[in-house]
């Protein structure tokens, strides 16, 4: 079971920490789309998908494997000082 930490806005609809039984990021996304529909779809289109701190674009993309200790964060861009 990987842990999904959604963006704050999405968390208001689906919860702050969700355990998902998925072998890859792609599977996790499919489950998310099926379970939560458009709000989930809109969020993952705008947010970076990060597994254990690494963007999936720097891993194996949607084929990035997920294990029981892995945490998947959805994060938006920001800036500050």
């Amino acid at each position: 079971m990987a842990i999904l930490i959604p963006t704050y806005d999405l968390a208001q609809e689906i919860g702050a920490e969700i355990e998902i039984d998925a072998a890859t990021v792609g599977e996790l996304l499919s489950i998310g789309r099926e379970r939560w529909g458009k709000p989930f779809e809109d969020t993952v289109r705008a947010a970076a998908i990060v597994v254990n701190g690494r963007a999936i674009t720097r891993l194996k993309g949607k084929r990035t494997p997920l294990g029981p200790d892995d945490t998947v964060w959805l994060v938006n861009a920001s800036a500050g000082g």
Partner: protein, 628 residues
């Protein structure tokens, strides 16, 4: 023959000696103004010229410099800021800090470009400046008061820069407060306190001469519109402020937790900017002429007070194992009123907590319990008990109690809330920044982890180039003086709208990562065009062309000037480093160590035109027209 007046400046600077009460004109030659502009640049030049090598920061002869820039008190967006420059009592290196609010504008409207203060009053005083007069006044009734009450007790019409009890008691990271804004880092407030100077207040109605006022106004209108429509400066920062970085840094594994022992914690959502906005925010607040309005006001114990920035949420929150948002709000308000940098405060308490847990420091501190922490912060400002040790900062505490390998500072300045083990370029920036471990001298992490692109944070490729470019740009911005948040508008808005996993975003990020050789060429080329709004505003105000190349070169000059000052004060290449924990303890599964600084530093020195020992070559100094 009378000296010709320069547009953009009031052509009057002051030298105030608090020991004698004498006020005289401070001579700054036009060539220095052209080379260093104002703000941080002219402040550093004057610090170098007006103090002998090795002068103690608390020596009465140390100078404390308040400098405006050519754009201060104009309508240019994000330009009403001042810079304080001195020698840091925390680091022994150059100290500078920029601050918003209205003080900068009012100081300049009083007809003052630069205010240089030296000497020490024999009793607490404040300086009152208007267009015709400068008076040193008794501050006995203000001494001991917090920053908020001090400002309330001073005349309303004046812009104010004050210290709280932390500055009076020489806490090495005391800051200077102006309205709700702070010149926060490097301990300028302690130097002010050492001079028995409680406040500087100024007012006036003079106008800044702008050579091409029509073009200036037109540009102002268009840039305001641009910044308001930009996804970052027009949406994310106004809506969520800097606290929006909490979730992002936690997700990217770069949020310091328990004194940088790890880079993430799922509880971070409890102190996130989104939660702050949804549950605590009362209103937004901003500086004069700033379309971003990034400040947050929150309700605390029935009173509306300034809300925390990301750095406070990180260092007084996660870094202490504290995920209680209301407690962070309270700690933030206490730090601000005491006039104390919350980054260094959080860094120092975090370090002391780890020392305690390792049995090296007898105290009740714990990453799991936070009772009494508000009182501890007050004890720091008043140097009571353990607070007296904490007031010395992490570096000095590690020299007394041990734990140097996890004493999280660079050159003595406690690190901000981005763990560089997840953004290697930011690690290089921390190591090389002249005022020490600071994130706003380049903000390379924005390109690596927190911004819209993901220029592989765990790669060293193109990072030395990016760091040099960003440091030069920010040094120029801080000399003009603009707010560094202006730089976030430089990245075109469409990039923020890309799907981060999409092909276009990936291609752009990869192209930047592969662009090292091109960036090296760009760094060696002086662009003859006006491209960004910064140099355009300067061109219109001066009535002469300032190209992007001129602007960036000014930043490079200022950065090298700071480096020369630090070298004169005994700093060497061995100080361009990171804490051992950040070099050797990985926070990512696939990493074998922390930041590979040794792979980036030699290239960085070469790009800067420095020798292998990090010393600027004569050729570089000559090219930059730096006298020394």
């Amino acid at each position: 023959m009378e000296k010709a007046l320069m547009a953009g400046y009031m052509n009057r600077s002051l030298d105030v000696d608090l020991s004698s009460g004498r006020v005289s004109e401070l001579a700054i030659n036009d060539e220095d103004l052209q080379l260093y502009l104002g703000g941080k640049g002219i402040g550093t030049r004057l610090l170098y010229d007006h103090t002998p090598a090795g002068l103690d920061p608390y020596d009465p002869e140390m100078v404390l410099i308040f400098s405006t820039g050519p754009l201060t008190a104009t309508r240019a967006p994000q330009s009403n800021r001042f810079v304080v420059t001195t020698k840091s009592p925390l680091t022994g290196a150059v100290a500078n800090s920029t601050c918003g609010g209205s003080f900068a504008s009012k100081l300049k409207k009083a007809g003052v470009d630069v205010l240089l203060i030296r000497g020490r009053a024999d009793h607490p005083v404040y300086l009152e400046i208007n267009e015709d007069d400068v008076q040193v006044k008794d501050a006995g009734h203000l001494w001991g008061k917090g920053a908020e009450e001090t400002q309330e007790l001073l005349p309303k019409a004046f812009g104010k820069a004050v210290i709280g009890p932390a500055g009076e008691n020489l806490v090495r990271y005391a800051c200077i407060v102006s309205e709700e804004r702070l010149a926060g880092r490097t301990g300028c407030g302690a130097v002010m306190g050492s001079k028995n100077l409680k406040a500087v207040i100024a007012t006036g109605k003079r106008k800044v001469e702008i050579m091409d006022d029509a073009a200036f106004s037109k540009l102002q209108t268009s840039i305001n519109k641009y910044l308001r429509s930009h996804p970052m400066t027009g949406d994310v920062l106004p809506r969520l402020g800097t606290p929006s970085l909490v979730n992002i840094t936690a997700g990217r594994n770069i949020l310091p937790v328990n004194n940088f022992q790890r880079g993430t914690d799922r509880r971070a959502v409890n102190i996130s900017g989104e939660k702050l906005a949804a549950e605590e925010m009362e209103k937004r607040s901003g500086c004069i002429n700033c379309p971003i309005v990034c400040g947050r006001s929150v309700k605390l114990k029935g009173k509306i007070v300034k809300g925390p920035e990301f750095e406070t949420l990180g260092l007084m929150g996660a870094n202490l194992g504290n995920f209680d948002l209301k407690l962070v709000l309270e700690l933030n308000q206490i730090c601000d009123d005491l006039g104390m940098d919350s980054i260094s405060t959080g860094g120092s308490i975090g370090f002391a907590t780890e020392l305690t847990e390792r049995g090296l420091l007898p105290s009740d501190l714990s990453f799991d319990r936070h009772e009494g922490i508000c009182d501890l912060v007050r004890d720091i400002a008043h140097r009571r008990g353990l607070g007296d040790d904490l007031a010395e900062g992490v570096k000095r505490m590690s020299e007394k109690y041990g734990g140097t390998e996890y004493a999280i500072h660079v050159k003595g300045l406690e690190l901000p809330s981005y763990d560089p083990r997840g953004c290697y370029g930011q690690g290089l920036e921390y190591a090389t920044t002249n005022r020490g471990g600071c994130h706003v001298q380049g903000s390379t992490m924005f390109f690596e982890a927190t911004g819209p692109l993901n220029i592989d944070p765990l790669s060293v490729r193109a990072k030395p180039q990016l760091v040099v470019m960003q440091q030069n740009l920010v040094a120029a911005i801080s000399s003009s003086v603009f707010c560094v948040f202006a730089t976030y508008g430089v990245i075109p808005g469409f990039i923020y709208r890309l799907n981060p996993q999409g092909l276009v975003a990936r291609i752009i990020a990869q192209a930047v990562l592969n662009s090292g050789p091109i960036l090296t060429m760009v760094l060696k080329t002086k662009a003859p065009l006006k491209i960004l709004w910064f140099e355009k505003f300067l061109s219109y105000i001066f009535g002469r062309k300032v190209s992007l190349g001129d602007f960036i070169e000014t930043g490079e000059r200022v950065f090298n000037m700071e480096r020369l000052y630090n070298m004169r004060e005994g700093f060497t290449a061995s100080d361009d480093t990171l804490p051992e924990r950040l070099l050797s303890e990985p926070t990512f599964k696939e990493a074998e160590r922390g930041v590979p600084l040794d792979e980036m530093l030699p290239k960085y020195y070469r790009l800067r035109g420095w020798d292998p020992d990090g010393i600027p070559t004569e050729k570089t100094l000559k090219r930059l027209q730096i006298r020394h």
